[in-house]
Point group: C2
Chain length 350, copies 2
């Protein structure tokens, strides 16, 4: 536990550095905050903060920069998470409500809204359900020998795939197959469909197999579907003054890397929001960045993750509040539409 004054000082240094992106020196501090001490005193305190590892020195004659440990202390003890101002909330709500359409669009929108609000990159993963279960399937003829297979899964997810048949097939037949399979498999998971003992014709088996595969893929894809927004916003920050650093971040943000970043555990701040600072991240490539994550979704039904990613120099209080708020909003919306009571569940199963 840091003594009062030094803690305050650390807080000021971090605040100043977050705003200016410039290493802060003793004089700036005294002048800007009208501290009742001389620069020398401040320097002594800064020295001790440095010895304790909360701040560091880019080089001898530069000001101080917060270390990861400093930020951690700040996030956990020093900062007060203020509730978002009403106008900001309103703005976000507004942007949200002019969404319509389907789930994918919401996810993307939330990423976009989040990115804009915090001026950093935002990643939102698709909500995944515990295990995909078939609700209903539909076969619609396209060509003589092909049809579109549409699966409606629980939690209102829809999957589609074009299916080829070895021989021409009529819509009547397709409908018959669909009906039979619906009877047999509605409410079932991929695994259950696989090991069911239902008697199937050759064609039905062909379709059932495709259904199983799609559902397996849906189970497997977990976090791979995600939306990323605000890349330019981050890259405009002064830390990315060379193209090398930009490429570095862009590499981190590669689609296939995102899943590994998100399920960050530990460092919990408060109800669900997790902050990972710099070297706290597992990935080496992330050592200069921080990430603020919150889960969202409907308990026991669907859940996804919502994250903000930026340089360690980020506005933690605001970012944390915003992530929490947007995640809450999203959860709310999801539950309005997708909360499935056990009643309806039963109904479909029969």
């Amino acid at each position: 536990m840091l003594p009062e004054r030094r803690a305050h000082l650390l807080s000021l240094i971090i605040g100043e550095y977050i705003d200016s992106a410039v290493p802060v020196g003793s004089e700036t501090l005294v002048r800007r905050y009208e501290l009742p001490f001389s620069t020398a005193t401040i320097r002594n305190e800064m020295k001790r903060l440095e010895d304790e590892g909360f701040i560091s020195h880019p080089h001898t004659s530069a000001g101080r920069v917060p270390s990861d440990k400093g930020y951690r202390y700040y996030v956990e003890t020093l900062m007060q998470e203020r509730d978002l101002p009403w106008e900001v909330k309103q703005t976000i709500r507004h942007q949200f409500h002019q969404a319509g359409r389907d789930q994918d669009e919401w996810i993307q929108l939330s990423a976009s809204v989040l990115a804009r609000a915090v001026e950093n990159a935002a990643v939102v993963t698709m909500p995944r359900s515990v295990e995909a279960r078939l609700k209903r399937l539909e076969l619609v003829g396209v060509q003589d020998t092909s049809a579109l297979l549409v699966l409606v899964l629980q939690q209102a997810r829809v999957k589609q795939q074009v299916l080829l048949f070895p021989e021409p097939i009529e819509q009547d037949q397709l409908t018959a197959i669909a009906n039979h399979l619906n009877e047999a498999f509605s409410g079932h998971s991929a695994a259950e469909i696989g090991r069911s003992g239902v008697q199937l014709t050759q064609l039905e088996w062909h379709v059932a197999n495709a259904v199983r595969e799609i559902m397996q893929a849906a189970d497997g894809s977990e976090f791979t579907d995600s939306y990323l927004e605000g890349v330019r916003a981050v890259l405009r920050k002064p830390e990315f003054d060379t193209s090398e650093k930009m490429l570095n971040l862009l590499e981190v943000l590669e689609r296939r890397n995102l899943p590994r970043l998100i399920p960050a555990t530990g460092g919990v701040v408060a109800d669900g929001v997790t902050v990972m600072i710099g070297t706290e991240n597992r990935e080496d490539a992330m050592h200069d960045y921080s990430i603020v994550v919150s889960p969202y979704g409907v308990p026991g039904s669907v859940s996804g993750a919502m994250a903000v990613l930026g340089p360690t120099r980020m506005h933690y209080p605001e970012t944390i509040s915003t992530v929490r708020f947007v995640a809450g909003l999203m959860s709310e919306m999801l539950s309005t539409f997708y909360d499935e009571g056990p009643v309806r569940e039963q109904e479909d199963g029969g």
Copy 2:
């Protein structure tokens, strides 16, 4: 028409510059290509090429750099478009065939394959059909007062949306509504649904309205859906040595900008592939970049565009061949699945 030797020289300069990204001087040229002339002669020729506007000078003591006009001449007269080597084609085919799943995935895959093959950014727009027509709709209950509306459109596109009802509603009712609307609207466009005189209940009207809106949105979205890949590949090129230039390109590649870039007309090279070089692009921001576009799709059915975007210094012959090849491949795949004979069309309408 340039005289033989000067044309050849221009060709060498462009080839050399494309490979090295360094302004090419007379000596390099003579040495590297063992030209049967002295550097002085080459210099004289270069001077003339410059006077004619085919190449230019970054500064007095630098080598020559092709101008847009130079590239244009190269693309149209000088270069020979070689067919892609067999292995490359095989590689691309291979990557393509391990795709599965739905249409979106193909589009994305094709962008990714293209980007990797040409080492530049690739944009592939979703194929759009002339006008969305309803093939079949489905209503699946989710909660008491909500249902998932699934639309299957022609060309095997699927749209979905959650629909809220003012009062609890049973699956039986939903099915009845779906049946009635299918009868009434199958084969119709958004406009036709709007002005149809079919007698509808309150609930049916509610659903029909949603259907119409979704279809309108689908018609309107045209090129807005697209996949972008290979951003990092472009940004690694030596032209992007400052973060400023990177941001510049990233801005151009913003999702909402893409549609404006793609429908480039004019400058047609050969069956469908269009090349726009530097200032030939309408957008000011594109003046340092070239774009190679090809349409793809099934004539009279669906069509999208496939583009490669990079610095004007790009390997035009290879890029053009590759774009043509991938577009062809994609069209092939689409027609396998999505070609709709008029026969089936009629069938569904009834």
